[in-house]
Symmetry: C2
Subunit: 446 residues, 2 copies
Amino acid sequence: MTISTHHHFRNGDLVANQIFIAASELGVKDLIWFPSASFHCHEPMIEYLKDGTIHHIEGSMNGPLGRFASLGNMKGTGVLRSHGGRYQAVQDGEVVIDIAVIAAPTADPFGNANGLTGDSACGLLGFALADSQYAHKVIVVTDNLIPFPCVPWQIQGNYVDYVVEMDQIGIPERIISGTTRITKSPDRLFIAELTAKFCDEVGILYDGFSFQAGAGGTSLAIGNYFGEIMREKGIKARFARGGSNQYLVEMLEEGLIDYILDGQTFDLAGVRSMRENPNHVNTSPFTSYNYHGKGNFAGIVDVVILGATEVDVNYNANVVTHSDGYLLHGIGGWQNCLFSKNVILPIPLFRDRIPIIRDEVTTICGPGELIDVIVTERGIAINPRRKDLLDAVKNSKLPIRTIEELKEEAERICGKPEPVEFGERVIAAINWVDGTVIDVVRQVIE
Amino acid sequence: MTISTHHHFRNGDLVANQIFIAASELGVKDLIWFPSASFHCHEPMIEYLKDGTIHHIEGSMNGPLGRFASLGNMKGTGVLRSHGGRYQAVQDGEVVIDIAVIAAPTADPFGNANGLTGDSACGLLGFALADSQYAHKVIVVTDNLIPFPCVPWQIQGNYVDYVVEMDQIGIPERIISGTTRITKSPDRLFIAELTAKFCDEVGILYDGFSFQAGAGGTSLAIGNYFGEIMREKGIKARFARGGSNQYLVEMLEEGLIDYILDGQTFDLAGVRSMRENPNHVNTSPFTSYNYHGKGNFAGIVDVVILGATEVDVNYNANVVTHSDGYLLHGIGGWQNCLFSKNVILPIPLFRDRIPIIRDEVTTICGPGELIDVIVTERGIAINPRRKDLLDAVKNSKLPIRTIEELKEEAERICGKPEPVEFGERVIAAINWVDGTVIDVVRQVIE
C-alpha cells in the first residue's frame, strides 16, 4: 500500500511516525511512504525502512533519511518529485494513494479542515489537496475539533472518510521555521544586493511585476532590496509568491504588494496574515505548479530567486545531492518555478572550499535552458540563450562574467574537486515536472 | 455536442442565447443544451429548438420552454436533474460536456473568476464548478476583466481554456431576484407562523441548530419567525443554508447565525455580505448536494423548508409539473434537501381553486419517505413514518390532522379535479439524486 503524509508541520510533525509505528506493530510490510516532504524529525523511519515496514520513500529525503538511502540501505528505489510533479503524478494515476493521512490544526466532524487556527496552526494545507481528492481513503487527524462548519475549508470534508482526534499533532515551535532572519554575512548580503540591482537594471522591477523569493537568509535580503527599490521608484508588485514570512507580510501591509499567493507559511506572521488578510491567498500545487493542468501560475511570475547545490557550465542545476554524492535534499517547488519568466540563482562561488560551478552537476534537477542568471559574490553570469538580458547589460557597470570565468576563478582558489566514487545501484530517480525521469541518483561508496 | 451554461444571472442572462445564435449561424445541428437552470429570458431558444440547432435540453425548463416541451415540440427528450444530480452526472461521466461557457462578473486573463464584483455581480459561481472541472473546453466570458490574480478564484483559471470579453453579460436589475419581500397574504403568514411554531414545539429550534429556507414570501416569513423565537429563547443557529437574502444577512450580522453556507445569492444584500463577511461562505453543489461524494452537507441540516406544486396522500411530492400536466419548473436543490433531518413543506391547501393534496402526484420528484411534514392554512399533517414527531405533538394545541383529512377538506371546497389527458410520448425524464430515473413527464394533449 501507499501511505501519504504532508509536511505542513515541517520539523514538528507528530503524526507521520505514528502511522508506521502502528503499521510495524500490525506486522504490515513493504509499504510505500509518499510524503510531500520529509524532515529530520522523521529519522525514526529508518527503523521501519530496516524492519521492512517501509519498502521505499517517494518524496524528499532530507538529512538522515537521504544519507541512509544514499548508502544503498533502502530496500526499494526512491522517487523524488517536485510539488507540482507530485500533484501531476497523483492526478494522472502514476501514484495511487491507498491511505492519505492529513494532519490538520483545525477540523470539524465532517472532515472540513484548515491550518489557520489551533495550537498547531501552520497556515494552509495545500500540499494535501491532491491526496484528499484522489486517495482511496482519506483520514483527517486533528487536535482541534470544532463544530461543523470549519471555515474556510482548505480541505473539503466531502473528500474525507474519517476524522481522528489526537492530543497533539505537532510541536508548535518546530512547525514554523521560526523567524527566519535576513543574512548578516557580508558575502551573502553582497550577492543579494547584486541580484536586486541586476533585476532593476534589466527592467524586471516594473510597476505591477511579480516575484517569488524563498525563506533563506539571502532570499530574504533580496526581497528587502526589492522593497527599497520599489519605494524609491514608487512602484508596487501585483503579487508575490510565497513561502510567506514576516518580511513579505510587511510589504503586503505596507501596500508594496497587492497579493501574496502563498504555498507555505514560514512563520507566524505568515499564518496570522493568511488568517486575517483576504489578499493573502492560500494556494496549492494544483494552482501553482501542476504541469498537466490547463496552465499554472508558475509561468506568470516575472522573476524567481532560487537556490542550488551545484550549477554546471551549461547552466544545468542540482538541488538534491551535494558534490560528495549524498542525496540530502528534496526538490520542493524548485523545478516548477523554472517556468517563470526570469530564473535567477544567487549562489556563493564555493561552500566549505568546494566550488559550486562544475563541468557537470552530480544530479540534473533542472535543465540549463530554463535557468537564466547565476549571481555570485564574484560576478554575474547570464545564460547565452538570454540574448535580451545580455543586451540589457551591455553598458552596465555590473560585474558581468561568463560562467566559465566564474568556474575557473573558484578552481584557482579551491582547486579542482576530486570525482566522487559511485556504485552501480540506482537509489533514487529524479522526476521532471511531467512525470518523466530527468536523472537518477546512484549509491555512494564510502 | 453538449454545451453547458449557468443560471447565476437568472432572468438577466445575456450569454446563453448568444451561443445558440452563433451555433445556428454556423449551421450546427442537434446540440444538447445543458444549463444549470433556464429562465424566461431564454424563450428565444424555442427558435433554435425549432430549427434543429438544439436537439433537446437537459436542465430545468421554466415557463415557455417547459410549455413548448410539454406539447411534444422538442425533438429529443429532456432530462431534469437536481443541482446535486447535475454535479453527480458530470462527475460520473453520465453527461460529457464538450463546451462549458461560464459567464463571470469578474475574471482575469488566466481564467480565475468570481461573482463578487463588477456590474453584473451575482455572488458566486458554484453551479459552474463541475463544468469547469470536467468539460472538455471551458470558456470564461466576462465584462470585467482585471489583471491576474482575480481573488477569490471561485472558478480556478487552471481549469479554463479561454477567456472572452463581452460588453455586457447580464442585465443587472434582472440578475438579482430583487428585494424579495416577506409575504403580506394573511393565509401565507398564518402558514409561516404555524411552521415556525411547529418547529419550536417539536424541539428543532435548539441552540446550535441549522436550517434552510428559500426565497419565496412564505419561506422568508418563516425565517423571520425563526429569528423571533431565537431572540426570545436566547439561542442561535450554527448555520443557515442559503439562497441568501437581506433577511438572512441581517440575522448573520445580528449574531443570530454563525455562518451562512450559501449556494446562491438572491439579492444585493447577499452579494455584499458574501463579498465582505468571511462567515458568509460560498458553496457549490459538490459540497452541498453531490450524492456520489463521500458525504454532503444536506444531511447535516436540521430543518429545510421547501415548496411543492403537489403532494399526495403518501407524502410523495412534485415540483416540476402542475396538475394540468405542464412541465413548468426545474428541480433546483429540492431533491437534495430532502436528505435533511426534517423536511417541511408549507403549502396552501389549494391554488386557483385546484387542490394541492392529491391521491397521486402528477410527477414524483421526491419519495414520500423523505418528506416529513405538510403545513397548510387548515392544519399540519405529519408523515406516519415520523413517530417521533407525532409523539412530540401528542398534547399540542397545534392543528394536527391526517393528510387524508386535509385532502378531503380541499376537495369539499374546490371539488375533485378532473384527470388530465396525456399522450404516450415521454417528453422528459426526472432523475433522482443518484442518476436513476424516478419518473417521466408525458406530452400534454391540449
